[in-house]
Amino acid sequence: MVSKIVDSIDEAVADIPSGATVMIGGFGRAGQPVELIDGLIRHGARDLTIVNNNAGNGEVGLALLIKGGYVRKMICSFPRQVDSHIFDEAYRAGKIELELVPQGNLAERIRAAGAGIGGFFTPTGYGTLLAEGKESRIIDDRGYVFESPLHAEFALIKAYKADRWGNLVYRKTARNFGPIMATAAVTTIAQVGQIVPLGTLDAEHVVTPGIFVNRVVQTPNEANA
């Protein structure tokens, strides 16, 4: 019987090696897999390259991972926020690298990795600092920049419900990067609020088919999720 359910957060992240590229879902705190990140901190893998839209908020989740010194490089679109002081300090101290990618190019690069696309031309960023050194092309009188797929060894995402095949549904804007990161990583680990019997999720409503999910771990239900 296929079952992707693992018993604990620690078991779920146990084989993430130092030096890995790890995608972490979430936009701000919505959809951020905080328990998996805490597990990753306990696990202790270092020199990680982290792909996330932001670079941590406050003193929780991704911010703590950075604070602990586990992150060598951030690939993100928006590191600077009112409560991103942990990243800010690490960056100013030269302790962390930053690859800044426009948010839509970040999403499309992740999607391209999952969909087997070798690269694509995007109008976003054309003529800007963020296109410097990149191939560009005029197509139908419009400028485009070439962007490459962004792969990862692991993706840590948060969903609302899962079944034992790893089918996932999300909740509201916590969906954000989860579905595309699930497609782009060799191993995708989803923390979910609820595990339901196979067949409970309507086939029309599944957002991430289980083919993209390798491990599912249940976390305590939150007030709003």
Binding site: A30, Y91, G104
Partner: protein
């Protein structure tokens, strides 16, 4: 359009407040339009959209049909806008993931995006993501995607910097966000339209601003279109 030097009389007696500006932008958004309101000043436009207008708001973190800010028991940690403020969901809303959301933007499906700006050039280049100050931590978010994607880009900004420099310029000195993308600029003293191959025209004046004073401030050959205003923006507030 007239390009003569005739002085226009100011349309109102005082420069607009930020609230006035938001109200004017809201009134110019056509009923049923799909609109993204940028983080910061533009977000306040939502407060002046009427139910009748049924403007459908997009937020790049994966939602169409975003409702007003959430308060008290309405607050749901899974439901926020791109500025990470808790919002609500309207009937008719839909959720989608980030690739679909930015495909929607990049693919030209949004009617209007209203953005803040550090600078706008006369040919519509936009600078709003990076001050270029050494040592500052860069952050771009969805700014470049919105700039290239929406059918119309409205900018909402004060016309001058704190030190009195015009933010409407011949060419950008700040790092560019998107090229030739801005179509209209709302400021506290005037509203401008930017038309490719035609140039920049002023369609409304507020406070003591005149076409001449704006030409002097910006050093740009601004066309006076203040008399066409009533035909151009029939829904003015």
């Amino acid at each position: 359009m007239t390009t003569g030097s005739r002085e226009s009389t100011p349309a109102t007696s005082a420069p607009l407040t930020r609230t006035d500006m938001a109200q004017r932008v809201a009134a110019d958004i056509p009923a049923g339009a799909y609109v993204n309101l940028g983080i910061g000043l533009p977000t306040s436009i939502a407060n002046f959209l009427t139910l009748d207008q049924e403007v459908i708001l997009h937020t790049e973190n994966g939602m169409l049909g975003m409702g007003p800010e959430a308060h008290g028991a309405e607050i749901d940690l899974d439901l926020m806008n791109a500025g990470k403020i808790s919002v609500t969901e309207l009937a008719g809303a839909s959720y989608f993931h980030h690739s679909d959301s930015f495909g929607m933007m990049r693919g030209g499906h949004l009617d209007i995006a209203v953005l803040g700006a550090f600078q706008v050039s006369v040919n519509g280049d936009l600078a709003n993501w990076h001050t270029g100050v050494p040592g500052s931590i860069p952050a771009v978010g969805g700014a470049m995607d919105l700039a290239v994607g929406a059918k119309k880009i409205f900018v909402m900004m004060e016309l001058t910097t704190k030190s009195g420099q015009s933010k409407l310029v011949e060419s950008l000195s700040y790092p560019v966000t998107g090229l030739r993308c801005v179509t209209r600029i709302y400021t506290e003293v005037a509203t401008f339209d930017l038309v490719p191959d035609t140039g920049i025209s002023v369609t409304k004046l507020f406070g003591s601003a005149t076409v001449a004073s704006l030409r002097e401030l910006t050093a740009l050959p601004i066309i006076d279109a203040t008399h066409q205003t009533s035909r151009q923006t029939p829904t003015e507030g």
